[in-house]
């Protein structure tokens, strides 16, 4: 076993993916005789713009032992309770996809069924009145959840909005302190082993040859190792998710930073707004068939709340998934493994799942086919289930004001998603599964937020008498409102807990 053990790992590419991988491997493989090296070139830009995350990142940071306040200060981070979606169902609509459940089950029946029942009975109260994180987000308030499971304040979670470039720098310092060796330079060539087609080494532009037992491809969209060398193949999903470009620009903050990300459906895609401590990250994800780069940039700039801090930067991508994310002795992590637009802030989450799964299936030098198969099975499921959830946002629209939205509304969707939507429309049932990131509250938020309303609610709801239901609904609503009112403002909480220094010129890595 020992002679087959992996002795060295080479990560090709830095950025968020490269340094998250380096940090996690250096923490989890500590104590084993494994050398970790990362090559990156300062000449190759990273994609890292203002980046929003999902709550799982807190597990990742905790596993590394990061100090939350320190990490937040150094990355200009704010808290995130959810995402506000504007104009997605219809122009003028607004809903929040929160990090937490709505209400609480009554009589063993999911809360949304009772809400639907009350609504059919004429109660106009919106679902979001029963969500603590949504109410807090709307009012710009934040406090970490309570650890007392009996408290309403324990029923939500949170994530961060931070500068991904600064996060990569932060993790770089962490990884280098734990022995990861960083090499500056560009890769000139990749050398394959004759007998089995494994990667033997890379050659740097300065001629240096770097060998390794295991290669992690964090080279971004192009997939230097996984695609350009190993030809793993790419499954194109643009028929469902046709946006293929993005323009990004930071702007000045003009109001206290909000504890949520905003996504605004626009003529040919959607615009993001991610408030950090020192600035606001903005972008427009669009479909080049429907709008030119210039028009997109103009729309992006017109929507800024403060002064633009740079020229818009353009990105191109093809939505889809690498057919084999692990091939031979190479694992693709980050954009080299596939691309899903950041509509639900899943980019960093997918990096995290990739690294965690790689550690669970850490191979020996032979990279057993069984390890590759299992890794690819897990990652395929993860990608597919996020894909369906993203497609739902586009498809469940009633907008008729632009050709882009007419196409989305009428397109055929994956069978797996059509099944989920039909089931929800019939009886309010949300399909559950073990693997995959988005759980029932997330599906409910988007279905109901975009006007996909079930014809019938769960008949078992009727076991709860009308008077009892009315009183329980009011109690939950009141409790949400009271708890929200007692929370400090997001800005106050940041000032107290993790205020960052004003950015220095060199800190603007994004």
């Amino acid at each position: 076993m020992t002679d087959q053990a992996v002795r060295n790992i080479l990560i090709v590419g830095g950025g968020t993916a490269g340094w998250m991988t380096a940090a996690a491997l250096s923490a989890k493989l500590a104590g084993l005789p494994i050398a970790i090296r990362l090559v990156e070139s300062a000449e190759i830009g990273t994609v890292g713009v203002g980046e929003a995350t999902v709550p799982h990142i807190r597990h990742f940071n905790a596993a590394l032992g990061l100090d939350e306040a320190d990490f937040m200060r150094k990355t200009q981070a704010t808290y995130k309770l959810g995402i506000e979606f504007r104009d997605w169902g219809k122009l003028g609509d607004s809903y929040v996809h929160p990090f937490g459940a709505y209400g609480a089950a009554i009589g063993g029946v999911g809360f949304h069924h009772h809400w639907l029942r009350a609504r059919q009975g004429g109660d106009p109260t919106p679902l979001e009145a029963y969500s603590l994180p949504i109410q807090a987000a709307r009012l710009g308030r934040f406090v970490p959840p309570s650890s007392d499971p009996r408290s309403l304040a324990s029923t939500y979670s949170y994530a961060y909005q931070f500068d991904a470039g600064l996060y990569a720098l932060y993790l770089r310092a962490y990884a280098e302190a734990r022995g990861v060796v960083r090499t500056e330079g560009k890769v000139a060539d990749v050398v394959l082993r004759g007998e089995d087609g494994f990667i033997e080494a890379i050659t740097m532009e300065n001629g240096e040859r770097v060998e390794a037992d295991l290669f992690i491809d964090c080279s971004g969209f192009r997939g230097l190792l996984i695609e350009q060398t190993l030809k793993a193949g790419y499954e194109d999903w643009t028929r469902w998710l046709p946006c293929d470009r993005a323009a990004a620009v930071p702007c000045d903050t003009v109001e206290p930073s909000a504890p949520y990300t905003r996504s605004i459906a626009d003529k040919a895609g959607w615009r993001w707004r991610i408030p950090l401590q020192h600035r606001v990250g903005n972008g427009y994800v669009y479909c080049s068939d429907h709008i030119s780069d210039d028009e997109a940039a103009a729309a992006l700039l017109a929507g800024l709340e403060g002064k633009a801090l740079a020229e818009p930067r353009f990105l191109r991508f093809v939505t889809g998934r690498r057919k084999k994310q692990w091939s031979k002795n190479c694992v693709a992590v980050g954009l080299s493994s596939g691309f899903l637009e950041p509509l639900e802030s899943t980019s960093i989450h997918l990096i995290q799942v990739a690294v965690t799964t790689l550690l669970e299936l850490f191979p020996d030098r032979g990279c057993d086919q069984a390890d590759q198969d299992e890794y690819n099975r897990v990652m395929d499921l993860e990608f597919e289930r996020i894909r369906d959830f993203l497609v739902l946002h586009y498809h469940a629209t009633q907008r008729t004001d632009a050709p882009f939205w007419n196409e989305r509304r009428t397109m055929s969707i994956p069978d797996s998603l059509a099944y989920k939507m039909d089931l929800f429309r019939e009886r309010g049932v949300v399909v559950k599964y073990k693997d995959g990131f988005f759980l029932e509250p997330s599906w409910l938020a988007v279905y109901l937020g975009q006007n996909v309303v079930p014809r019938a609610y769960d008949p078992v709801s009727d076991s709860v008498p009308d008077a009892v239901l009315t009183q329980r609904l009011k109690a939950i609503r009141d409790s949400v409102a009271d708890t929200t009112r007692s929370m400090p403002s997001h800005a106050d909480w940041i000032a107290r807990f993790c205020a960052a220094a004003p950015p220095s010129a060199s800190g603007e890595a994004a």
């Binding site: 198969d373 089931l423 019939e426 014809r455 008949p459 076991s463």
Partner: protein
């Protein structure tokens, strides 16, 4: 209001399936929905049940007090199952799969990897020696789990051994609002739309309901429905008969269900208060009923068994629960599992009066997947046997499902447990079954090597000692039962 809420449910068949359903629906359905149970003679409960810890949650939902239940059903405690005879070479091939995860998560790596690693260096005992439930089970001792997470007793969970007839009596008491009568099914009349219009009984009564539950042993209602066909699983699971007999009790029966592989199939012994319920599973093509009685040493009730499942267990306004829906020879000690999830999923997907075809489709998908994963566990036990008797050899020749083949290959490669969406058995249960039946991974998780070998050895020795001590300090199973009269 909800789209025409369900007004009436008729349960035909009775038995454990019928009465678990009646009890759960009596709790869940709105008061104005009627529940009727028609008990057919062939659905009368027989034999004993060996159940998983999860069934106790169901009792909690029904408000069924465990002490009352155990009294009514001659119940005893179950900390796991013992399997012997699998190697075909006498007493050496036995193992216990206990209801507590073995060992402890050391340094963030699952325990079995540490055990596999330590075993490469020397004798560290059996995997089950690190499961408190397994060790206590072997010692014939029982104590309830502790709620203090620092106590080793908090790792325990337990199931129950129940007499089926007594269990039905207890369930009946929770379904007070259900009207029950006995009767035989004479005719199932379908409406032109393929739904059941009425079920006519032998005495002429016509049962009409919004929803019919088929809790008969042979699926008389569901078989009449479109797509009610039976998917046969007998290639890998060849037993088609169960012989049931009760024998004299032991002074202190272990809190375990005991399975013994024999040439004809397998024997199961379930301890009840006042006697042990013994079952022989066999194939009628190879073993006669008389030969089965001889093996059991006397008169026995013979029950037929059809391993397999219905293509659709919910079709139109007819939903099958229990043996009408699926049958699996009771080799996993998960009796009533499929009924429990069948009822639970019915309540979660309860249809409106005019039917909810998509809810039915989802129900069928979930039940089929769950049943296939549980079947995989039973098929694995045959595949892992080293016996050379014709029945065992024949079973091994049947190809496993792709899901099982993949799951076993992953475990053999590196001790990875693949869990699909609808698994009834948790990761620890699969590890216990794989290792117990002699499947040893080729590699352990490399991350286990982070822990210095001497520290790992010390941790294992400490755990093993702690568990042994805790088990020895527990009361004998017989005494624990006396404390719960």
């Amino acid at each position: 209001m909800s789209l025409a809420a369900l007004n009436s449910v008729a349960i035909l068949g009775g038995g454990v399936a019928g009465w678990m359903t009646a009890g759960a629906l009596a709790r869940a359905l709105p008061a104005d929905c009627t529940i009727q149970v028609v008990e057919t003679a062939d659905s009368a409960p027989r034999g004993a049940l060996s159940t998983l810890p999860a069934l106790r949650t169901f009792h909690g939902l029904l408000g069924l007090d465990e002490a009352v239940l155990m009294r009514a059903a001659r119940g005893t405690f179950k900390l796991g199952a013992r399997y012997s005879g699998w190697t075909g070479s006498g007493q050496n091939g036995d193992h216990v799969e206990g209801f507590s995860d073995a060992g402890a998560n050391l340094d963030g790596v699952a325990f079995h990897h540490h055990w596999l690693r330590a075993r490469e260096r020397g004798d560290v005992g059996r995997y089950e020696d690190y499961s408190l439930a397994a060790v206590a089970g072997r010692l014939g001792r029982f104590a309830p789990p502790s709620e203090d997470p620092r106590s080793v007793l908090s790792t325990l969970s337990y199931g129950l051994h129940l007499d089926a007839a007594g269990y039905v009596a207890a369930l009946r008491s929770t379904a007070g609002r259900a009207e029950a009568r006995s009767g035989e099914i004479a005719e199932v009349a379908l409406a032109p739309d393929g739904r059941i219009a009425a079920v006519t009984l032998a005495d002429g009564e016509r049962i009409v309901a919004d929803l019919f539950i088929d809790a008969t042993p042979d699926g008389r209602l569901i078989a009449a429905m479109p797509d009610g066909a039976w998917i046969d699983e007998s290639a890998a699971l060849a037993c088609d008969r169960l012989a049931l007999r009760e024998v004299a009790p032991r002074a202190n029966p272990p809190p375990l269900t005991e399975f013994e592989a024999v040439a004809e199939g397998w024997l199961r012994r379930v301890p009840l208060r006042g006697g042990d319920a013994v079952t022989l599973a066999y194939a009628s093509g190879q073993t006669s009923d008389d030969a089965a009685r001889d093996i059991l040493g006397g008169e026995a009730t013979i029950v037929s068994l059809r391993n397999g499942r219905r293509r659709r267990v919910w079709s139109g306004n007819c939903l099958a629960i229990g043996p009408a829906a699926s049958q699996l020879e009771p080799l996993n000690g998960d009796d009533a599992r499929a009924i429990q999830s069948g009822v639970g999923r019915l309540i979660a997907l309860l249809p409106t009066a005019e039917g909810s075809p998509l809810a039915a489709m989802e129900y069928n998908r979930l039940m089929a997947e769950e049943q296939e994963r549980a079947r995989d566990m039973a098929v694995f036990r045959y595949a892992a046997a080293a016996r050379t008797d014709p029945l065992w050899v024949q079973a091994r020749r049947a190809p496993p499902s792709a899901a099982l083949a993949y799951k076993q290959a992953q475990f053999e490669s590196r001790g990875r447990v693949v869990l699909y969406d609808e698994e009834s058995f948790v990761e620890g249960a699969w590890v216990g079954a794989f290792l117990g039946h002699g499947i040893t991974p080729r590699r352990h998780d490399r991350l286990a090597d982070r822990l210095p070998a001497d520290q790992a050895d010390a941790a294992l020795a400490r755990l093993r000692g702690l568990i042994r001590q805790a088990a020895q300090a527990m009361p004998l199973h017989a005494d624990a039962l006396k404390d719960r009269p």
